[in-house]
């Protein structure tokens, strides 16, 4: 066992896969010599050399294109998009190229690649460096979408993503980089498309993703004191989506709450809510609630950012109020 930060776990996960398979290569801005602006790739250049760990220009289309072309011709690249907000300048490569090429070529092209990115708010970076953009990715058929919330999941899901033969967008939460967790020694390999029940409970199901997972867990602790036993599910993977775990939990508890850092409209929670409404409506004991960031760009000031991103207090209050009504 070893205690690792979330950011160290990113490097460990990548190193584990690079050591195992020399087709795995890493490219991105400042990821080699500097070890990444978030220090998630520290030591990889030293371990694997400049042929496999490569600093790129600020050219996100060139980065993702390079990853795609390499993936279709025998490599298994990992590309970093420094801030997920920057997907907006290279979304063509994701939404039009990576996501559709296998389908359009009727399976001739396989794209075993991972795009890792720093996602999410809470660091006072303002509206263009704080977004949670998993919803953009979830809306595009053909890409897999994962968001780990613990250091152990970072390693295991990175391994699963690298070993997947499909393009995977790997959303690291910037607000979790400093958090710590225990990791077992040796190889860790998880599986895509699986949610994790972080806390079992009988009265309500709370779904969360990324930074919202620890907040939902804190809220659940607060709710215990108020006589509410909440189950907390870390969704982890939006595509594929583990509906079995989610529907099973909602069927048991009869109540569903989603905690989403993303702006309100068409959030991942909305999709899950629609599935629950269609498939286990009669198991529900009350209305479903989505707790989200309002439909606004994120403000920079700490007081304002804290106000709009769901907090554990806000989650606890919303759940308690809903359960009492």
């Amino acid at each position: 066992m070893a205690e690792l930060t979330y950011r160290e776990a990113v490097a460990r996960g990548i190193a584990q896969e690079m050591a195992r398979d020399d087709r795995v290569v890493l490219i991105g801005e400042d990821i080699a010599g500097a070890g990444g602006v978030f220090k998630t790739t520290v030591g990889l250049l030293e371990s694997f050399g400049p042929k496999r760990v490569i600093d790129t220009p600020i050219a996100e289309q060139a980065i993702l294109g390079a990853a795609m072309g390499a993936a279709m011709t025998g490599l298994r690249p990992i590309a970093e998009i420094m801030f997920s907000d920057f997907f907006a300048v290279c979304w063509d490569l994701v939404a039009n190229e990576m996501a559709k090429t296998r389908y359009m070529t009727n399976g001739q092209v396989t794209l075993p690649l991972v795009v890792k990115t720093g996602n999410g708010g809470g660091l006072r970076f303002g509206a263009q460096h704080s977004q949670s953009v998993e919803n953009w990715a979830m809306a595009v058929p053909g890409v897999k979408v994962v968001t780990p919330s613990t250091p152990k999941d970072v390693v295991g899901l990175m391994a699963a993503a690298v070993r997947s033969d499909d393009p995977v967008l790997f959303f690291e939460h910037k607000g979790l980089y400093a958090t710590k967790g225990e990791l077992p020694d040796g190889e860790i390999v998880d599986s895509l498309g699986t949610a994790a029940i972080r806390r079992t409970g009988a009265d309500a199901t709370i779904l969360a993703l990324g930074l919202m997972v620890p907040r939902a867990l804190e809220a659940a602790e607060q709710l215990t004191a108020r006589g509410i036993d909440a189950e907390v599910i870390d969704v982890r993977s939006l595509v594929p989506l583990d509906t079995a775990t989610i529907l099973g939990s909602v069927s048991r508890t009869g109540r569903l709450f989603t905690v989403e850092e993303n702006p309100r409209l068409l959030g991942w929670g909305a999709e899950i809510v629609s599935i629950v409404a269609e498939e286990c409506f009669w198991d529900l004991d009350g209305p479903i609630h989505r707790i989200t960031t309002p439909h606004i760009p994120l403000p920079s000031a700490d007081s304002l950012e804290d106000l709009v991103i769901p907090s554990s207090d806000a989650v606890a209050t919303t759940v308690e109020k809903a359960m009492q009504s």
Partner: protein, 354 residues
Amino acid sequence: MILPLSAHRYGDHGIVLPPERQNRHDAAPITSEVRLGLYHTMQEMRQFEKRAYDLFMRQLVKGTSHLSLGMEAIAAGFGAAMRTDDYTFATYRGHAHTLARGVPMTPVLAELLGRANGLMGGKGGSMHLTSVQHGMMGSYAIVGAHLTIANGAAWSAQYRGTRQVAVCFFGDGTTNIGAFHEALNYAAVYRLPTVFVCENNLYMEYTSIADITAVARPGADRAPAYGLQPQVIDGNDADECYLTATAALDRARRGDGPSLIEAVTYRHGGHSRADPGKYRPEAEVEAWTAYDPITVYRSRLERLGIDLALLDAIDKQVAEAVDLATQEAVAGDLPSPQSAMSNVWADGGSSWRN
């Protein structure tokens, strides 16, 4: 130092005439076998696309397609110079580049018709022709993206030490989009074995390229910004294309990095099916139609003493092959309904949940 702006002004592009016919390549060290191959390939492209157009008029080809009638020498010349394991990346105007890699006509035509025996089972269509087994790594319909993807294939070849080269074809209009500049810089920085071929047919869709480009040579004038030699070639001369391609491919294989080649050409028709191309001056169209790559090449072969009966026989053989491909494509089944849901993922399926 302040460099002068291009002499071109918006809306004042005038008429661009083709070069004079020349015989400087008559003595080039190109074997008769290669030359007859080039002629055959160009005939195949020409007759195939004419047939595709006829089938569109009969409403058998749906949607749109972008013909390269008049531009065949570039795809043919580069195709002939490439190694069988080199990679081609083409645009939505990619029928000719696909045929140039030896992809049979039947699956290509069947793909245009949306049939099960199409190259991609009818799921890609005219703008996305791909045949990985022939090194035809795809036709890309969003301008600019595939330059960056070609770099990835070139990087992979460099990493694996295979000496393969990625050849990337694109139009003059692409030189004004950001991805072009990202890709050129990227290829130059890592000395990637990518050959960028700008097919300058003088029009970005419906607009004169000169009207909306800061420099006179949309490809070549950008090359020095990336440490590359400016190269402008006659894109209607198959020998010139072949010789240029050979040199660029050799350079890439030696590890000396990318090339950017501007091949000047002209499309006989409009941008796509919807476009009659009426924005082009009549005299310009006439001059370029006369400077047809197949006519140019046929005269050269005649000067070199090739028996014209042999060329007529090639024309006839291609015509028969196009007829056969048409029959096979038209006779193809419609794709199975299940195929709409297949091959989103590597496991063959499209499931996004359990």
